[in-house]
Symmetry: C2
Subunit: 267 residues, 2 copies
């Protein structure tokens, strides 16, 4: 008997070639699958994430599903995985879920945060440095933040992705909301949407930075949103600033048991 | 012409055999000295820290001094070092200081924080996991916190260190203040004192945990403080939870110029 588990996973992406398994490259999915195959002595185990994150991109709350022998307790699964995984990948929770729960198809919203520290500013300690992009401070931050708001809503975001011959599909997405948080030394940009195309967040951030620098203006951005021009927004902000914060599912997709109640589990 | 520089350095200690240069082991001091020797093509350069941190212990604000050619601008020095250092060591500032400033002898106070997450509790993302000790939750947290306060003041802390045949010296220190911060999942313990003996903070934390577990009581701790018993407090809390937060100096020891004003430096 197998059960479907829903995992919430956090990782520092610096060392990985992204989430997705690739030949001859270290991936987060590959690391977790290898540990699961070892734990259950079953080479067929595969996990499915809510979506890819690119090389160098981090996650605070990536979600994945996997079918495993029903007998394993959630707390035991977490312990076994975290004991074997490298320290830059942590499984935060593992809950039994509905057998038809699908981490990718059922995702209703994703939230990304892009963390920028302006150059010049005081360097950051390693634990912040790892997840922060260091970028020259644009002259017009206000224009950036105005443009951020203009991105909200439903648009064809084809201008902010690459044509991938292996992946055809619609490029219309909903950006539910955005948020800009000015810090002492930088800027955090938060994007919550129905889903994001490949490179979309980094290219949106890149476009905002170019608007802040005066290379482009608000009208240029409006043009890209109203009439998609593939390849128009080409500057991708560096991956190290990007973090997948959260993946949301419809309420009926929440866990069907609560055996990961740490408060009640004996250590 | 040389000038004395005061560096503020942050590091993740996980990978290092501590601050101090050791033969055949990777140390923070060794990494920085090697980069300085390379930058200035001078094998005689040596830096002196405010004190050792042990293997696996982190720093948010270690302070060190070093004599370097006067011609280098502070911002250039920081950039050159951070460009060459591994990402788990970051130089946060570098300021010209008085030629008789001594990072160790002039230190007036040091602050350490010990970060605990209780087992069982939700695992932490990698960027917190790296600097957190995972420990079973003691039954009596209140007794721990009461005992923490009892440590404050001037005492002979010989019970909380090891006799090092190479280092003789007084074991009397002042613990100016302590602070306990309960978090959702754990406890942070902060110690500010005139200086700390080897293993002192980790053994004080270890003693507090044993009091919380009922293995020892407040009277036992009072006994160790009033009549030092070397080797009595032997349980050292693991290094990964410990971080040297700050080193303080007398006001006249502050920088003599302000060329590290990042706000004014062109990137």
């Amino acid at each position: 008997m197998t059960a479907r588990f829903r995992l919430v996973i956090s990782y520092l992406g610096s060392r990985f070639h992204g989430w997705q398994v690739q030949e001859n490259a270290c991936s987060v999915q590959g690391e977790i699958e290898a540990r699961l195959k070892g734990i259950f002595n079953d080479e067929t185990i595969g996990i499915i994430g809510s979506g890819r994150t690119d090389a160098g991109v981090h996650a605070a709350g990536q979600v994945a599903h996997v079918d495993l022998p029903n007998s394993i307790p959630s707390a035991g699964l977490i312990k076994a995985l975290n004991g074997r995984l490298p320290q830059d990948i942590r499984v935060l929770s593992a809950d039994r879920t509905s057998p038809d729960f699908h981490a990718r198809f059922d995702a209703k919203a994703k939230t990304y945060c892009y963390r920028i520290r302006w150059i010049p500013s005081r360097p950051a300690p390693p634990w912040k440095f790892q997840r922060t992009a260091f970028l020259p401070k644009p002259t017009n931050i206000k224009a950036m933040i105005d443009a951020l708001v203009a991105l909200e809503g439903e648009h064809d975001f084809a201008s902010f992705t690459v044509r991938d011959p292996n992946r055809t599909g619609r490029t219309r997405r909903q950006l539910f909301s955005t948020r800009a948080r000015l810090t002492k030394t930088g800027l955090h940009l938060v994007f919550r949407g129905s889903g994001f195309l490949r490179y979309q967040v980094r290219r949106m951030v890149g476009a905002l930075l170019e608007i802040g620098n005066g290379k482009h203006d608000a009208q240029w951005l409006d043009g890209l949103l109203s009439g998609p021009q593939p390849g128009a927004a080409v500057y991708s902000a560096p991956p190290r600033g990007l973090c997948l914060e959260k993946v949301e599912y419809a309420p009926e997709r929440t866990m069907v048991d609560s055996s990961t109640d740490f408060g009640a589990v004996k250590s």
